[in-house]
Amino acid sequence: MLSEILIIVIRGIAIGSIFATIAMSFNIVHGATNIFNFAQGNMFILGGFAAYFLANQVGLGQWTLMLLLSGLLIAAVVTIQGYITLLPLRSSVEQDSWLISTVSVSVIVAALLMITQGPFAYSVSSIVPSFRILGTRTPGAYALAIVAMLFWYFALRFFLRKTFIGLAISALSQDFDAARAAGLPVRRLQLISFAISGLMVGTVGFLVAPVISVSPDAGLKYVLNGFVAAVVGGIGSNAGTLIGGPLVGVVAMLTAYKVGGAYQDLASLLVLVLILMFRPQGLFGRVGARRV
């Protein structure tokens, strides 16, 4: 019994790591642009499809190459999306258009997948063999999910604190006007943040494809859970997502275990509403502190 719970918690943390990475990809774009990309879940699923088409049942060498390739491909797609989304914001007084355009891009991506691939879930083989925890077989991709989360957390940390472009993106999120006065190329930095968010979800989607449902309608589930993870951790706080993501994942897995798999999304929705009602700044967000 106890070990069962333990296994569920470990799987929850692994699934939650995916949510955390999506939440971090929200954060970097939101910090630089104040935009929340509703299409991020479908971009993540595109990564899964890339794994299916480019790297199903292949050797490690090709797999690694394809991982990079699909990350770059999806980064390119998200960058184009970002360019389109930012276009009307340049001149218009109406600053809400991104809400509509990112939702419609989300629908377009899902529809294109549906038309070309049909409404099926594709299964992708894992490059990492399954391993045993407490006597239970655990798919290797769960480990990859956690590794990917930690990799992206530290990679972002390094990028945002040590590199010139990363520092400039941080500066943008800390004081937009001062950043413009300093001559930082705002539009280019915003597009770079979109590209990085695409790189993140593209690679993670690729890595965890063996354990998720790679299907055209799965994107919404991930955009929702990624958002909940971001809100729980405190929007803008990447460190917060390291807790927020796994927390949401564990809640979802426990719900599935105790109540039923169909209630997972409901549980996430309840977590979201509770946090927004009682602690809108998130568990770890501090008012006024926008750490990246």
Partner: protein, 234 residues
């Protein structure tokens, strides 16, 4: 160097500046004074591209920059230091200086030299170069904001209320720094409330009242000019 002709600008539908003209020459400090709400900050922000002018011209080296985005204005050599000692609070002091290089038309060595120069003028910044900018005092943040602008080596520097939120005693070293900076051939515009402290460092002065230029004069004549009209309310 910087020439503003008949500028009309404001926020949204609120007109603030009416028909303001000014020039700033290389190597000179122009001091702009006036009451709270007279439109001084709006003038700075309009020149730097944050507010789109309704009419009038802004020329930098003879090229019109009115209506250009602020980051483009900065890259073309006009740097605004915003009021309220605004730095990037979650970046280290050194990284704040690095951000200054975004608008710099220079090389790596030039950047290092500029940083060294800032450190020698404000040794406290060198001492605290690894700390977050949020951990600095208001005066140190102002030095940092100016240092960041110095790294960019702009042709024109606009400095909005460097004294805001600072102890008065901190102002003279900052003004002395600006004076030396101007002498290297930069056109400097300072907006300031503390005219008596600032005027000795400036070459020319201009008073703005209710969005219009009330008068311009040599900085050395400012005191006399201000005292000439009687106090209206008395």
């Amino acid at each position: 160097m910087l020439e503003v002709k008949n500028l009309v600008a404001g926020y949204g539908t609120i007109p603030v500046l009416r028909d303001v003209s000014l020039t700033a020459k290389a190597g000179e400090i122009l001091l702009i004074g006036g009451e709270n709400g007279a439109g001084k900050s709006t003038l700075m922000r309009a020149i730097a591209g944050f507010n789109k002018p309704d009419s009038g011209e802004i020329l930098l080296d003879g090229k019109p920059i009115g209506g250009t985005a602020p980051e483009k204005v900065a890259q073309s050599g006009l740097r605004l230091v915003l009021d309220g000692h605004r730095v990037f609070p979650e970046l280290s002091v050194f990284d704040n200086l690095r951000m200054g290089a975004a608008a710099r038309r220079g090389d790596r060595a030039g950047f290092n030299n500029a940083v060294e120069e800032i450190y020698s003028v404000f040794p406290i910044l060198k001492e605290k170069q690894k700390l977050y900018a949020r951990d600095l005092s208001g005066g140190q943040q102002q030095m940092l904001a100016l240092g960041q602008a110095f790294i960019a080596q702009p042709k024109v520097l606009l400095c909005d209320e460097p004294s805001m939120g600072l102890a008065q005693a901190l102002l003279p070293p900052i003004l002395a720094f600006l004076r030396r900076w101007a002498q290297t051939g930069t056109a400097v515009v300072i907006v300031e409330q503390h005219l008596a402290v600032t005027a000795p460092y400036a070459d020319r002065a201009m008073i703005i009242e209710r969005g219009q230029v009330k008068f311009s004069c040599l900085a050395s004549d400012l005191d006399e000019k201000l005292n000439a009209p009687a106090h209206a309310a008395e």
